[in-house]
């Protein structure tokens, strides 16, 4: 393996400020543009489709296989931290489907789920 000296991150503070300003503007504008949208007309399609989720023996689970492979293979890169398998729920056209992914156990979305579970157990 070739040893390369650690790269020094050299971000120009002015560039960063400029970038942050534009990013903030985009965020703010995106929010504004959606706020005017009528909330009442909003459809609700958020039921968790239990049939899609149940069991990996389910035929639909095959759809997720290619995704899984990539995840497993790359798994070694991230410095050994443990990973949690989650299902990402998506719509392809009007069809619901899930893809499995490995998410580092310390990522905020996983953390929040764990806390939630812990809290529920305590109750």
């Amino acid at each position: 393996n070739v040893e390369v000296r650690q790269k020094v991150m050299n971000v120009d503070p002015k560039e960063q400020e400029d970038f942050d300003r534009e990013l903030k503007a985009l965020l703010q504008e995106s929010l504004e543009s959606r706020k005017s949208e009528a909330r009442s007309r909003l459809p609700l399609n958020m039921m968790v489709p239990m049939n899609v989720l149940e069991g990996s023996k389910d035929s639909r689970a095959t759809e997720s296989e290619s995704g899984e492979e990539t995840v497993d293979e790359e798994g070694g890169n991230a410095g050994g931290s443990s990973k949690v398998r989650v299902k990402v729920l998506m719509k392809k056209g009007h069809k619901q489907q899930t893809r499995q992914m490995l998410i580092p156990a310390d990522s905020s979305i996983v953390q929040s789920t764990k806390q939630q579970e812990a809290a529920e157990l305590e109750e």
């Binding site: 560039e15 503007a25 958020m46 968790v48 790359e74 998506m90």
Partner: protein, 826 residues
Amino acid sequence: EDPVGTGAVEDGYDYSKGDFVEHACRYCGIHNPACVARCNVPSCRKWFCNSRGNTSGSHIVNHLVRAKHKEVCLHKDSPLGETILECYNCGCRNVFLLGFISAKAENVVVLLCREPCLSVNALKDMNWDLSQWCPLIDDRCFLSWLVKVPSEQEQLRARQISAQQINKVEELWKTNPDASLEDLEKPGVDDEPQPVVLKYEDAYQYQNVFAPLIKLEADYDKMMKESQSKDNVTVRWDIGLNKKRVAYFVFPKEDNELRLVPGDELRLRYPGDSSHPTWQSVGHVIKLTAQEEVALELRASQGVPTELNVGFSVDFVWKSTSFDRMQGAMKTFAVDETSVSGYIYHHLLGHEVEHQIIRNTLPRRFGAPGLPELNASQVLAVKSVLQKPVSLIQGPPGTGKTVTSAAIVYHMAKQGQGQVLVCAPSNVAVDQLAEKISSTGLKVVRLCAKSREAVSSPVEHLTLHYQVRHLDTSEKSELHKLQQLKDEQGELSSSDEKKYKALKRATEREILQSADVICCTCVGAGDPRLSNFRFRQVLIDESTQATEPECLIPLVLGVKQVVLVGDHCQLGPVIMCKKAARAGLAQSLFERLVILGVKPFRLQVQYRMHPCLSEFPSNCFYEGTLQNGVTVNERQSSGIDFPWPVPNRPMFFYVQMGQEEISASGTSYLNRTEAANVEKIVTTFLRSGVVPSQIGVITPYEGQRAYIVNYMARNGSLRQQLYKEIEVASVDSFQGREKDYIILSCVRSNEHQGIGFLNDPRRLNVALTRARYGIVILGNPKVLSKQPLWNSLLTHYKEHECLVEGPLNNLKQSMVQFQKPKKIYN
């Protein structure tokens, strides 16, 4: 492993060849499928990686921010497969709004948008944990478990791109989407184009300077418009009077640079699904409704999927016509020595020419039938114009330049030199002028672009297409029969179509030939239907709002006498490409001729503003020469009980200290406090008996314009409909128009930065001269007073005790200190 077949090296990727892989990061070349994502804007579709390199944000986020693109698609070999990231609930694809939530019980996550889905109450009852929404873009990167950050190794082997290079290449992509980073180094890319000059050796040199500028502007325009594609558009269907299909939909204009106008061409597409085939058709915008809905008249009559309403996509179809005509006119100007008279040729190029007088018998009176009596300066203008081959008429706001122009055209037409061509850059101005000229009794034909024939016009009866249809010939005429057939069936057999076209062309020609005056836009003068016509006399209104090459189009049809009407103290042509603007494309022919020493004839009596309102603009922009043609009494708003701080002086500067904010594209601004006070003022006007159509709210910033519209709709304390009827517009789009009451929101309010748009004295002139009865200005005097012109405006208001603060029902004179103006404005 070599997933993309580029010829593997040791560690799996051949970075040096990165650029040849389609999904390689366009900045650094990294092409590991797990680490890249594709920008989903149709005109872009570039791939970027999720590494930061030497910049503050990751490459993909950098691109999205710099290009203002907002949609992303993952690679097919990524964990989620080829997926456009979108809100699971509503389908919103704006990645800046998306984030993940997880189910309370299962290990299931889902993408949800922050606004409005995350805040919908009904969702709280379901099994989702909304409290832990985690944004897709975190710390200026995509979540690294969704789009991986390339390894240290990969990053070190990749191209090292700096933030500056990123900005440059993003700028370059706006005009050339296929440009590579290497192109940045090529000579020419960064070079500024040759700037315009005052005098040109010959028309070839003229063409050499202007052609590249027009090309720059055209490229920019194309890029801008073609990047405006929208998916997920909801359509409702209708049938027009001509039996053509009309699609209505909202075409959100997130980027404030593009405004759709009637006549624009759009493509409506349906991507197809299991029960409907793919479908598409182009059409022309025929109108924009008050609800900002677009009405698109489709070219296709068969197979339109009118049973569907959702899931459509819309693209802009860019047309090069106007730019082609400018280039064509410059070429004609150079190669065809009969295109303009010798005198005008040299005059336009800035050569010294012997003074020339046109020996015409002057009319006994200079007014014209059907027009109001001319005042002294208008009479002088008409008289001087008729004797000169080249003249400039400067019409300050409200000085009756349309009436004067109509009188000039009337007398020109009576001189027997053949037909007169009358042009202006905008359709609105052409229509106004056509109407006025027609009222003198002259036979006027208004030639509209083919794409605008379905657009309703206030002078419909004068338009060529209307006259062709309603030509007073016998019912049996062949053209009428074919037209009827075409209207009924939608199309004709090919032999009938041929016959129809030939007959129509002949009829059009006949009508055009019998006209005294032909009116069209400057670009319209390049219409093939006029190609065999010659015009010795040409009048161009609003000529200070046209670029030089645009102005040239009507001139190269054989002009011997030209009248340019305009006002170089008001705003000039809009140039979108900064490079072209810097090189001087924004300078009008009128302006250049003024600098060359041609003295414009100035109309001096204004009939619009209350004398109190015209005082400052007259002194500041017109050397105090503007006289009032209206008296204080004629501008007294009787029965209107509005709390003007000084009675009989219907104006005040309302001191605002609220902060400005960046809005929209990051180049626009808004100011919430000012918007709130605009609403209060509007409400007070309405309560005091003013009707909505009398009020105009203007502001230099599109961001503020949109914000005010929304704010009034949500917070206005009177009936919603009243606020909807109030026109809120940019200062620029209000040029040439007037309202009884104007509210001007200045927006800019910061300690250290400049005041941007407000710096241009011509914009201030336009803003101050729109009101007939009264004006209210909202702004921050501390900030504005740094600029000399604003400083004198503020001083003027202060001296008249019209600089005020406090609640509207208890306005008090403001003691706010002005800053010293920085430098004298040239």
